[in-house]
Symmetry: C2
Subunit: 430 residues, 2 copies
């Protein structure tokens, strides 16, 4: 580095896996980053909980280690990179950084999904940037694509595989036809799933990401806790087999659609057509399929987690903030208008196709009863397969129907004496 190279001061909050990746990437790609930015990204402080901890993900100069307050307050820090996670300390740190006039990069989806409106309003008032590419789909630059690449377009709907753990488990179940609990245990042993996997497999992590995508695509904020969210645990190997028979694959989806007056958003496992690109997104990979007015269908695919992919997204955000800093006029930059509030479409009002599996007693006329009740509730049938065994498995693929109608039909069916087990429902997407 020559003496004349300008530099941008960075404070890292947190030095876990992603923080370590950021340090490594800034070092490995220093030359290329400096060539692209025309400046050096210089880490001036790293906030850690315990500065005396012996083992770290990467070697760093111990003189850089400090606490949150000191890292944020340093006058030579222009940009604060929040990698501590959670929504309490992280929220406080991010708001403090913004108040101190520092730009912010964060990978924290929970923070943005729960407190995004507060964070963005504070940044707007302070005239600083908040970038968050790593918060959704790790290294896949989906935020940048939606914000800039499709800036002139209008997103109508999107379908995302945004949780790698769920996708890994369902992909492995599909390949091996082994049960959910078995695969989860293996995934935990291999480090593909957390010791407490609830947020991943329960869909909460995907709901956080979906709330961020909805805000970006539809210009509205949604209450993340109001997003209908179902995990993958109820998906049984037999469902995967029937799905395949009908030409589908089961994937963990986050789905959003703009209805104008309202916004549809939901997280659940879904059958997707085997010839759709999303069907081939396997293992721990992430992808988002976007349907927009001008471009039509487009898809963005890659590593949704991992040390270097996530760090890559963080450092690319730093570079963009650096470019903005050098380009920005003295006055505040032009910013998009505040989001309009729009309600979430009630789950009962969504329309989709359904995969329904019933366990019934083996006697004549049962199938007719099921069909009659579904028909009475305006749920029209595309395909039916009646298996064998005890109870007999009846699997139905419907045409598009209203969720409320379908649920009313199921409530009635589940009360029939000939029905042995509650109906299994998986929505169909694409």
């Amino acid at each position: 580095m020559t003496r004349s190279t300008p530099s941008i001061g960075v404070a890292l909050l947190g030095l876990g896996n992603v923080g370590g990746g950021v340090v490594r990437l800034l070092d490995d790609n220093a030359h290329a980053i400096q060539a692209r930015l025309g400046a050096r990204l210089h880490v001036r402080a790293i906030a850690v909980r315990d500065p005396d901890k012996a083992q770290r993900v990467v070697e760093v100069d111990r003189a850089l280690l400090t606490d949150l307050e000191h890292a944020i307050a340093r006058p030579d820090v222009d940009l604060v990179c929040e990698l501590i996670g959670g929504t309490t300390d992280a929220r406080r740190a991010v708001l403090a950084a913004i108040a101190a006039g520092k730009h912010v990069v964060t990978a924290n989806k929970a923070l943005l999904a729960e407190h995004g409106a507060e964070v963005f309003a504070a940044a707007e008032a302070a005239g600083v940037d908040v970038y968050y590419e790593a918060a959704v789909c790790g290294g896949v630059p989906i935020i940048r694509v939606l914000r800039e690449g499709l800036a002139s377009d209008r997103v109508e709907a999107l379908w995302g595989i945004v949780n790698g753990t769920s996708n890994y488990i369902l992909s492995t179940m599909t390949e091996t036809r082994r049960a959910f609990a078995d695969i989860l245990r293996d995934a935990q042993a291999l480090g593909y799933a957390e010791a407490d996997p609830a947020l991943d497999i329960g869909g909460g992590d995907a709901a956080h990401k979906l709330a961020i995508l909805v805000g970006l695509c539809f210009g509205t904020t949604v209450d993340v806790h109001a997003i209908p969210t179902e995990g993958i645990a109820p998906v049984a190997p037999i469902d995967l087999a029937y799905a395949e028979r009908f030409g589908y694959v089961v994937k963990p989806l986050a789905i959003a659609r703009d209805h104008g007056h309202a916004v549809e958003a939901r997280v659940h496992p879904a059958l997707v057509p085997g010839n759709w690109l999303l069907a081939d997104v396997s293992g721990a990979k992430n992808a988002v399929y976007v349907q927009s007015y001008a471009l039509g269908g487009s898809m963005y695919y890659g590593a949704g987690a991992g040390m270097l992919p996530t760090a890559m997204a963080v450092v690319s955000d730093m570079i963009e903030i650096g470019r903005n800093m050098y380009a920005r006029a003295a006055g505040a930059p032009v910013r998009p208008r505040p989001a309009e509030a729009r309600p979430l479409l009630p789950l009962a009002d969504i329309r989709t196709k359904y995969y329904l599996r019933f366990g019934v007693v083996d006697q004549p006329g049962v199938l007719g009863q099921l069909m009659t009740i579904l028909g009475a509730h305006r749920v029209s049938i595309a395909q039916v397969v009646q298996g064998t065994g005890e109870p007999v498995q009846v699997v139905v693929v419907t045409h598009e129907a209203r969720e409320g109608d379908m649920r009313a039909a199921l409530a009635e069916i589940d009360r029939l004496a000939v029905v042995c087990e509650a109906a299994r429902v998986i929505r169909i997407a694409g």
Copy 2:
């Protein structure tokens, strides 16, 4: 529009399909664009060859129609959008716009592939932006992804399906097993192929796009005419059948790899593994699969052509230039350093796997002769299938070998008396 809304003056050069799409999109999405940019994109002039032409793609105010010089020179024009195509008038117009201090958006891949260095140097000297998202893969924001999304990463290699016409023809051949010439005739009738399809099916269009991608990813300029380029015409239905038998699909690829001292770049049809995402990119769609240091494999997929997808990329570039204009300080912005010149790797030195098909006379010992010659040239065999018919078809899939060695072996084989027709070669990718 309220009176206080700032506006950015735009001159459109050309009002064909894409120009018409730009006018339509600026109109259809005016509200959203203004909300995102904080300013209005105002078309102040449209340069057309014949202002008196009766029929146009879209209705426009006739008072806007003018010639190139006047459109560029207007003092209320900040941004010139070049959509006239070709490399003569377009080059002159773009350089004139830059000299006049106007920002430029272009969808012209030929211009950038052939005169990119000149155009970017002029823009750098004048302190204006040149954006060109629509030049590669139409609406798929691959330029933005590579420049910004992966700004902190290092691209190692890429494989692109970047010509929709070639992909449409090969996809349809794969589905129907009909011959190339038949499908091409149908595609022309349907408007999926130009009346003169040479640039598309011969690979020239893909080579232009690859030259742009190489410049962006590897920071070097390559002579587009030096890129080894082969079209799809020689691919026969029998090759598609054998490819499928080996688990492959034939796709029209543009391939680049960074070798440090040199850069590999080539355009040709290739066998790709059936389980690779690129194998599922069918019809006229485009996709680029990127292998990078930090992110690993990622893919970007969508419409590579068409009125609205291409116009969408153009208008998104306009929005970004508008943002830059409002954000830019009085001084010149920081720009990346000029590209380093690096040689193209000679085709003889590339290493890949090959699909080879030989037509030989039906007599014992022929297979042995072929294998012996391949082995003598260090071309190691992975699989062999011997068909029937007259001549007998021998199909070989090799391990990775040096192109020069493989060519030397084929030259020797083609001289054998038992060989009835010149060997067919298709490289294998992925």
